[in-house]
Subunit: 620 residues, 2 copies
């Protein structure tokens, strides 16, 4: 069932706690390594050596690290490339089986090492997507521990486990448990089971404790709490924040478009960059060459964000520095999204938004006087650009947690809502765009009335392979040979009434009773002598214990028939149901297929994929 | 469809904005009146008059106001009694039709006037439940505006509208938009459609603006932001917060039990209090008598909470004052929950929790020294007692918004999670208890494995009233007379295959072709002369335009038959599906019933209520 039973609690609580601790620890370790490499490279090339030597060391070490990142992904798991959030989103929408490679331990290793090298190598990639991906792989392997097997077998619980893993990954990225819960709610599932709520809170708190301990150690940068006063925001400024939010929505949509275009352009035109190493090498070279001479571009994004959010005047940067940063970073980040290395985009959009907001705030301060606090505009800008890219309203909650202040929620909420609305009028979110770019299976939301009026009978597959309730072993055998990839078959009565579904393995077991036949079938013999089934003794020896699904018929008939008792009760729908309703069922109940019944007879089959095809055809 | 189509946006956005503004304005006005009456009563009895005269005025005005509150509820709408949240929770779980009285304008009037009188009269009742109720009624009436009719017709959208109204009501109660969104998620629906998210955020922001403007006016108390420093919480204190959280969980569960026991005791034993006016009069008298001499007990709960949350030493109260407050208020609040007046319990549990936490913090400060900040313990206590009573994890987010500080989230989150876990091990949440107490229809979550293994065939109703695909008007007429309350009938073929569902009104329309017959049927004529249907001309004249569902049969047969084309495609399930799966479908897809099909034949019917009955039998 979808709702965890009481008996499950003794497994669920340790599972979620362990998941939180393990995933957060793993992510913390990756973060430490990233930071160490990032700092070591800077120290060797800037503090120890100088000038041309330092330049060469800085650039070459960056290129080498990025190439290593590419190499690791190519060798261990190509699933580790990119953000990972799109894959997880796809898994959440019910395609667990099709993306099992993404949850392999090779992907975890490649993602971790690749991420360390990519960020250490100086590319402006984020870590929140990879963290989510790593967290999900850890959840997957944790569930393979025998004690947790019963959780794993429940499809709904398994989905919840993934949702919780997403939450932990996000929470560990920025230390934002509540925002992460909301963000996972928004971005990974089109519906949300309330029982997931406490589980993800538990997992996230367990993770946050690890994160809390480690982030108080001095090795890494942490986000600082902001200290805006009660007078830093006045109501008459709300219109200024609205303008900022709308503008960030446009920038966000533009960024998504750029990412898509860059990816398309590279795939189609730049064939000489089709080699992944050449591609990453060139980008890393460009990144290294521009970064070395400018301390600004080498800065840890968290440090830069703290600076931009500050309620006082900026210490490290001037306004022209911020503008320069934006102009250089924007194209570089857009290019990096599609590279064959692990890397997210959230922190980058956060940084860009904070930069834009600060510039806007400083401009307003010059024009309107000291009642404007530019740091607050930076905060609003960061939240709304992140929202414009990801289309998640929960970016507002993330920023409350990042800044530790919730007292100025009004401008942030309004700006984020406007940003999402404006951006949505242009295109889809970055993650949905990546899903399309990478051809991942996904259950889209329906938009447009056309689709809803279509009938199920118009989209169904009409030729359904069935097995009759009373079939001879020969018939079953032929069926299994003809459709070796089918994992289950619908069982129908004489009148083609749908009785249920039986797994192929169970059918094999049923006819396995006469192993001779089975062997003959497997060796490709089409014509079977009838006598081979008549040896009752032989048969009874083989079947022990006698399977539930089998009832030997009396020998009156010529060909012996097996009565197949179906194991599973499938989803049945009437043929005049609207596709909209069926889509609803697919989203809610997450079956892989539904059988279409008309006048009591099985007339068709609609698979999850058929609905998607249909949505794409309509062009939502 | 569940997902709003693009065309709907032009209606949804104005609807949600209007809902937010209207509901928040209405709630604000009620709040102003409450405050004015509360203050006026205090001024007249304390500042203008003194001693015995003041005492008499204070007590008698309180009793009169409370009696007025009771009178208003009795006269206008008994649905206005109590919190209102349980009714809304019931509506959200799919019982819109059964609780339409709760959404009538009379209930709105009674709730508003009753709430003003009850709080003005000095009873320690909260306003968040009534606010939610009033907001939902406003949402209902707003949807009756012709422009919004199309939204109203979509069952899923209607549900989302209610969820958004809940959010606005909660957000307006404390000025906590995000917490309200989460709280509505947790407490009103067992699953949550992500498309509700932006709608509720939009409605809440619109409402928050109204609230924001009005709360900056000096008339009412507002929650003050807390000002805890970064050193006010140290990690080694976490265990102390855990203890507080667990204890608050026990207190919360105890409070729920007390409420229930008081209610039961009153119903069974105190028959002389069965008159609602006597009952409310006695409680109001007791409340007035204890309050007058003690300024503490007359204080606005918001003011008291601000004081308890303060990071400095308390100005208005001493520790013994706090203890006295708790001892007097606790039983009074438990009694007030079941009174026939409007009133919630959230703010009261907030206050009690803050008091307990402050006492605990002050005690710890005495023992462990100045590193303990008692105000922080008061905050944690408030959040965790509210969570212990309502079992909502989102109480943590509510408190972040109430205090305007999120930097000390760790102790709050951990304490709230512990409180909910501990309290859940004792009993159900207060709202679920009230649902049971008031016999409201509700779709409970399934707990316990027993239930899941039962088959649908064991719980279904076997005698389903059907209409044959080809029926004579006489047959249809007889059916309609026999089952006048049925709103629809399943249509079956000769072989009892389920073809679909037809509404009774449509059936009436079909046989209405010969109005003479219909009239005769209505006048109760059982035996009809066959000739009355043979007049073809007469029939064709009457039916214009010819309804889709009718196909005239040739005159070959003796008795004319009508071919019924079903309108709706119902939910069909196999008879060996588990009840757990079916429950899932009921929760997710919210049908009122499902048809059970076996071997292509209609064999039974399961209504929403049958599942509930079953759950109650198992005793979850």
């Amino acid at each position: 069932g979808v709702h965890g039973t009481t008996a499950d609690l003794s497994r669920l609580v340790p599972y979620m706690t362990l998941l939180g601790i393990l995933a957060a620890s793993f992510i913390s370790i990756v973060d430490i390594f990233t930071h160490v490499i990032f700092e070591a490279r800077k120290r060797v090339s800037v503090d120890i050596t100088h000038g041309a030597v330092g330049y060469v060391i800085y650039v070459s070490s960056g290129v080498l690290l990025c190439l290593l990142s590419t190499f690791v992904c190519q060798q261990w798991s190509k699933e580790a490339e990119g953000s990972g959030l799109p894959q997880m989103k796809s898994i959440m929408s019910g395609f667990h089986d099709k993306l099992s490679n993404s949850l392999a331990v090779e992907a975890l290793a490649a993602k971790a090492v690749g991420l360390i090298c990519a960020i250490g190598g100086g590319l402006p990639v984020g870590w929140e997507g990879p963290n989510v991906h790593m967290s999900c792989i850890i959840a997957e392997y944790l569930s393979r521990i025998p004690y947790f097997h019963s959780l794993r077998q429940d499809k709904a619980l398994r989905l919840q486990m993934m949702a919780c893993a997403c939450t932990v990954g996000l929470a560990s990225s920025f230390g934002t448990p509540i925002g992460a819960v909301l963000y996972a709610l928004e971005s990974t599932s089109s519906f949300y089971l309330v029982p997931t709520f406490w589980k993800s809170v538990l997992a996230t708190i367990s993770g946050a404790m690890v994160f809390d301990i480690w982030y108080k150690t001095p090795v890494a940068e942490a986000f600082e709490n902001t200290t805006f006063g009660p007078d830093d925001y006045r109501k008459n400024q709300l219109i200024l924040f609205c303008l900022l939010g709308s503008f960030m929505g446009i920038v966000g949509a533009f960024f998504v478009k750029c990412t898509h275009e860059v990816y398309q352009f590279r795939k189609r035109r730049l064939t000489y960059l089709s080699n992944r190493f050449v591609l990453v090498g060139v980008v890393a070279l460009a990144s290294g060459l521009t970064q070395y001479n400018n301390e600004l571009l080498r800065i840890d994004p968290r440090k830069a964000i703290n600076e931009l959010f500050s309620s006082n005047a900026m210490q490290l940067m001037t306004y022209s520095d911020v503008m320069f940063l934006l102009l250089v970073k924007f194209p570089l980040i857009a290019v990096c999204v599609g590279l064959p290395i692990p890397g997210g985009v959230f922190i980058s959009s956060f940084l860009m938004g904070a930069g834009c907001g600060r510039l806007y705030g400083e401009f307003l301060r010059t024009v309107l006087g000291p009642s404007i606090v530019p740091g607050l505009y930076a905060v609003v800008g960061a939240a709304s650009l992140a929202a414009g890219v990801t289309r998640a309203l929960s970016c507002s909650v993330l920023i409350f947690e990042v800044t530790g202040q919730i007292s100025h929620m009004m401008p942030i909420l309004v700006a984020v809502l406007l940003s999402v609305t404006v951006a949505n009028s242009f295109n889809q979110s970055l993650y949905d765009t990546l899903i399309v770019m990478k051809n991942l299976p996904y259950m889209p939301n329906i938009r447009g009335d056309v689709f809803l009026s279509q009938r199920v009978s118009e989209v169904m597959i009409k030729d359904v392979v069935t097995v009759k309730e009373r079939s001879s072993p020969e018939e079953i055998g032929t069926l299994l040979i003809e459709y070796p990839t089918f994992s289950s078959f619908p069982v129908v009565s004489e009148r083609r009434s749908l009785l249920g579904v039986i797994r192929a393995s169970q059918l094999r077991f049923l006819i396995g009773g006469s192993s001779a036949t089975a062997e003959k079938l497997h060796s490709g013999a089409d014509e079977l002598p009838e006598g081979s089934f008549q040896d009752e003794t032989f048969r009874n020896q083989k079947i022990s214990p006698r399977p539930v699904g089998v009832e030997g018929k009396s020998n009156e008939k010529k060909s012996r028939e097996i009565l197949i008792v179906p194991e599973l009760s499938p989803l049945e729908v009437g043929d005049n149901m609207s596709v909209g309703q069926l889509h609803n069922m697919f989203v809610m109940l997450m079956p892989t297929h539904a059988f279409v019944v008309s006048r009591g007879e099985l007339v068709g089959l609609v698979r999850r994929g058929d609905i998607i095809q249909n949505v794409v055809d309509v062009g939502s």
